[in-house]
């Protein structure tokens, strides 16, 4: 089912951004990321980016 893959990617993207949201919370109010937080933020954004790319590909957008 092609759409099942798309829905999976949709949630993966939302969950990845949720992980980024948590880093915002633990670094508020300055949002000065430590090296470890930068690494986690990058991983989250990479996951989100991949999810969006897969969705675009899925629907030829």
């Amino acid at each position: 089912m092609a759409n099942e893959r798309a829905v999976k990617q949709l949630f993966e993207g939302l969950f990845a951004l949720t992980d980024l949201r948590m880093i915002f919370r633990e670094t508020a109010p300055t949002h000065d990321f430590s090296e470890e937080q930068k690494k986690r933020a990058k991983e989250a954004l990479d996951r989100a980016r991949k999810a969006v790319a897969d969705l675009e590909e899925e629907f030829n957008l």
Partner: protein, 395 residues
């Protein structure tokens, strides 16, 4: 820039943009897993996808709501647990099951108002135990109150309810000693863990409690409303009794449904949020000492400001604290054009929220869950504001 979910509902961003030291919000902040649960299980009856016979929430196997209930009871050192919409519904379930008209219920002079309402709802009468000079309830004071009630009414109280940590001072009350007294008088004992269950280890059996009540949204990193009521097998049949009602026309029965729970209790994302947070809860309670250490560190810095006082017991045993700034920031407020709001403005300018807006006299804060960098930032911000307005800050 102000974003909106829709129309006039603002996107809530205070946890992302600020350090939030709100007294009752701190330990209810969601884990990432609970956030994801909200995304996936926000639909109304989302927990009912796999509801099969016997058609009751705590029996649903997918997601494993049944296992969660069993694990929750074990985690709390009790035999059975149910989730409820807030601690108040836990008080209500217990009070409604064992209190009869005119029965006395002994509770703390710092009891939460919902304990009063639960007793009133059951047609009982509250009898408050006085505080000692440190604003703490002792076992001796509890025994004395029981004797007073017995003398006055000729009957023993039907229930003792006690907050381990009260909502006002965040002080610790002698729940172990009080449970022992309850046992001596053979009075059931309800432990109110609204500020403990989910942040520190709580073992009902070790405490000697007959009932444990906790709050999901206060201390279990869960959406509101959510809560827990747990008990021992000997009480489960009473508190979690099933319906005996039969329809006079249709002869319908709903046998498996529990009366006090009104059938199913906490559905959808609130329950799945609790379940999703549970693994982290089991881990985070092991760090309670560190949380208390941070609370004491912050207050150490806070007290370096001339005129600041801490009204809660010291050293702190909890992260919720009542402070008195009448001798410091309130002095500034008296002549400032913004009055007490000057203090809120200054905090907000430094990315801090959660104080009662405009309050510069007696107010509460909670440092739970802040990381060390945020704690140090908080201390510096308070000192900076004090210095700006000419208050002495000692080294």
């Amino acid at each position: 820039m102000r974003d909106y979910v829709v129309d006039n509902i603002e996107t809530r961003t205070r946890e992302e943009l600020f350090i939030n030291m709100h007294p009752i919000q701190a330990a209810g902040r969601l884990t990432p897993e609970a956030m994801k649960a909200l995304i996936a299980y926000g639909d109304g009856y989302s927990t009912c996808d796999w509801c099969r016979k016997p058609f009751r929430l705590d029996k649903i196997p997918r997601p494993p709501i049944d296992e969660f209930h069993a694990e929750l009871a074990k985690f709390l050192g009790m035999d059975q647990a149910r989730v409820v919409p807030g601690a108040r519904r836990g008080f209500q379930a217990v009070a409604s099951s064992i209190i009869e008209k005119g029965d006395s219920v002994v509770l703390s002079s710092l009891a939460h108002y919902t304990e009063f309402l639960a007793v009133e709802d059951a047609n009982g009468v509250v009898k408050e135990i006085p505080l000692n000079e440190k604003n703490v309830i002792t076992a001796d004071a509890t025994a004395q109150k029981i004797e007073d009630v017995k003398k006055e009414s000729g009957k023993l109280p039907k229930l003792i309810m006690m907050d381990h940590i009260d909502y006002s001072f965040g002080n610790e009350h002698d729940v172990y000693g009080i449970a022992k007294i309850a046992k001596e008088y053979d009075i059931p004992f309800l432990y109110n863990g609204a500020y403990t269950i989910g942040v520190m280890p709580v073992d009902g059996r070790k405490i000697g409690a007959d009932f444990l009540v906790g709050s999901g949204h206060k201390s279990f990193a869960s959406p509101a409303p959510s809560g827990i009521v747990a008990t021992k097998d000997e009480w489960a049949g009473k508190i979690f009794r099933t319906t005996q009602m039969v329809g006079d026309l249709t002869k319908r029965r709903f046998g498996i449904k529990e009366v006090e729970m009104l059938g199913c209790t906490l559905m959808g994302s609130n329950l799945i949020g609790m379940m999703a947070s549970f693994p982290r809860i089991k881990e985070r309670i092991k760090n309670w000492d560190e949380e208390v250490k941070k609370s004491n560190y912050f207050l150490g810095g806070f007290l370096k400001i001339e005129g600041n006082k801490v009204l809660s017991e010291l050293p702190r045993k909890h992260t919720l604290t009542k402070v008195d700034t009448r001798g410091s920031f309130d002095k500034i407020a008296r002549t400032h054009k913004r009055r007490g709001f000057f203090f809120s403005d200054e905090l907000k300018d430094r990315g801090i929220v959660g104080e009662f807006p405009g309050a510069t006299r007696i107010w509460k804060l909670n440092t739970y869950g802040l990381i060390w960098d945020q704690i140090r930032y908080l201390v510096n911000a308070f000192k900076e504001i004090a210095e700006k307005y000419g208050l002495d800050v000692s080294d």
